[in-house]
Point group: none
Chain length 277, copies 2
Amino acid sequence: MDATSAPATIEELLDRILALSDGLPKRLKQCADYVTANPDRVAVSTVAEMAEAAGVQPSAFMRFCQVLGFSGYSQMQRLFRNAYTQHWPDYATRLEKLRQSSGGSSSALLAEFIEAGRLSLENLAKTIDPQTFDAAIRTLSRAKMVHIAGMRRAFSVASYLAYAFEKMGVPCMLHDSVGNLDSRRAIRKDDAVIAITFTPYSSETVELAEAGRRAGAGVVAITDSLAGPLRPVTPLLLTVQEADFGNFRSLSATLSLSMALAVAVGMAVKKRRNGIS
Amino acid sequence: MDATSAPATIEELLDRILALSDGLPKRLKQCADYVTANPDRVAVSTVAEMAEAAGVQPSAFMRFCQVLGFSGYSQMQRLFRNAYTQHWPDYATRLEKLRQSSGGSSSALLAEFIEAGRLSLENLAKTIDPQTFDAAIRTLSRAKMVHIAGMRRAFSVASYLAYAFEKMGVPCMLHDSVGNLDSRRAIRKDDAVIAITFTPYSSETVELAEAGRRAGAGVVAITDSLAGPLRPVTPLLLTVQEADFGNFRSLSATLSLSMALAVAVGMAVKKRRNGIS
DNA sequence: ACTTTCATGGAAGATATGTTCCATATTTGG
DNA sequence: CCAAATATGGAACATATCTTCCATGAAAGT
């Protein structure tokens, strides 16, 4: 018989999962992963639901509970049900609560940023022009190499794009100013440049885009205004209006756009390769 | 027969309770009062428990549910459970479908990413624990220097944090692997580390957080699981579940959280300085 | 290659929970 | 004060859910 007794708190439970999870059989590991990633669902789900979500049989999930020291799923669930009260089911109400939470203004701040993000996303869905988006994808997917430029706040977007392109197998180069190297010369005729900049526009980014244009490369811009400094450089302007909150722009919309762009380009590149070969 | 159909949302339900409650028999009114006062309990309690808490018999509570238009307690409970359980759509298969439908319009792809972002934000609002958030802010604002660690996809978050801290006048250092320098030694006792990593966790980030802990620095983690490798390192875990879309995490929630964190810390630091001076 | 041990999936059995029914109590209207 | 209508409590019934068991399949060690 297992001498280990049941965990008394969720922390204990998570500690125990962490301690055991390396030496666990495949299916039980699946359970462990799912529970640690979605601990909140335990309170409101049946074993059958949990098992399905974790991709195992109910009986496997039962074994998982027992390995942890519980008599069964019910006992484990009791732990989560008792600790449940904090989370409030409805988004609107919950947000309202965050905003008003008297414990300090920090939660209210978070609520504002969340709302700003949501507004930005909604706005993006409404304002994006599918034709420009498609054209941008075509341009980027034809390029031998994609150069990515973004400074300051746009740098996080640029670095994400680099990550995503890399993951999708699209050759790319992230231009940063480490060591103050001037890498403009690296852009060639059959490359493409993707420039990201917002007011106040960063001159380095604009210059890189211009260099790309001079070299005959395709240029795609992600920016916040149709009339910005990138307008003369390229017609492929993807504009994103982000809701800002006290000088901090949400970036949610910009990042979603970037992800979609990266994935679409990656898919197009793959299709092109298969088509040619 | 009651022509009224079951409420479809929790708001509707509460509205209906409010509308009916004046003309309700004594026991049913007790039920109404208890439910409006503790709506969160419905998702995790049995009828018997609810009835006892409301001071009535289970059968009375059943009648209450039926007066509201539900077939019984289960149906009403389903409302609360569904509202709580975030059912992320199955993005993996959706992406596959998009890929296969050769016409696969890129706008549809973008729409999916926007939707993923929106869901992530809503989920963040529902699951964030204000107390942990506040504690994280306190820890970071007391630090002489904030060290930021994040690799791969988390790097864009890290770089944004660095930008925001910089802008708020908080001394910070972004740890990247440029030149493969080992910068762990730079962490001192009265510093703090903010480590960002998601499954599959990056060992460099975890190591940096551990180094911080050993040095006696405060450690704050932004991650996706309560039981990840950062759990043994610090209790200050800010967990964010992002909707995945074909292996691409939305990051909207993570970034909103990061912005709020940066601004709150910046404000706290300024207050501290003014208080001391 | 064989045996032993362990993990797995499915289905059958046990239990808890939801639901209904009806006799009794309470209220309402004459 | 009486009769009709309605509300109430408790127990019986039905169902969903948990839990266990065992035959099968996979892995590890000899």
